[in-house]
Symmetry: C2
Subunit: 154 residues, 2 copies
């Protein structure tokens, strides 16, 4: 459905204005969709994201800071999110012997298993993007990268 119809707004000030709203609206929609996939597995998007980051480390231990800096939503409370993953035995947290301020975080086999169970459903969502040509997708990715070059005002 056209954005105009979805949010019942008859026109936008400009295509650029529409793009802003459309990004917010569509991404929120994608997030809800992912959430609804993940909920039955007792995991939130951000927890899933952290597990993927730890898997990406391929056995290397990451600090909490490493994880935070790789997160999609720059997390203010990564600490408590990790707590939950540790409780579920999906992540191991040890104190780093070289710098006792740091954590050493490692995904467990059980965590890896959860991830591989979720791979299918998540890939399914992304397969729905396949109507977008690869060259358009690349272009879109470049534009999104450029958008983030805007200087942060604060």
């Amino acid at each position: 459905m056209r954005l105009e119809d979805e949010i019942k707004q008859s026109h936008f000030k400009s295509e650029h204005h529409k793009l802003m709203i459309n990004l917010l609206f569509t991404t929120s929609w994608l997030q809800r969709m992912q959430s609804s996939f993940l909920r039955p597995h007792d995991i939130t998007i951000e927890q899933y994201n952290i597990l993927r980051i730890l898997r990406g480390a391929k056995g290397e231990k990451l600090s909490l800071n490493d994880v935070s800096s790789r997160m999609i939503d720059r997390a203010s409370n990564t600490s408590r999110l990790i707590d939950k993953l540790v409780n579920k035995k999906w992540v191991i947290r040890n104190i780093c012997p070289n710098d006792r301020r740091q954590s050493e975080l490692l995904i467990t086999d059980k965590g890896l298993e959860i991830l591989s169970n979720l791979q299918g459903p998540i890939d399914e969502i992304i397969e729905q993007f396949s109507f977008i040509s690869v060259s358009d997708t690349k272009k879109f990715n470049q534009v999104l990268d450029e958008i983030r070059n805007i200087n942060n005002p604060s």
Copy 2:
């Protein structure tokens, strides 16, 4: 900066996978940017959004349901958000005489004033999109509209 560098992920399974992460990441970034603009004015993005919806009604009274269905984040608690706007005297809420279950919501002059004060800063953010050609912008908007055609699984 390239997404790969921002979230320190060396490669993605496909351009489509990257697009998904990039949409989540960039939109989250845009939201934070808008928040930081709005915070000094004591208004949140969703409150701002509701005011715009009510302004868009051009004097017509909307029900709470009307507002919800036009919102970007389909809000589970529009009711309490409206409470806050009513407390700030930016919105008037009356009981609809024809159907006493419904509210009649109307933006006040003070609410309109707030909106016009915020127009400038928000437009500034969107002006940063001007590097994207209008035809590309249209294409992206179409792509985003199509993405939402994916059937919702739940």
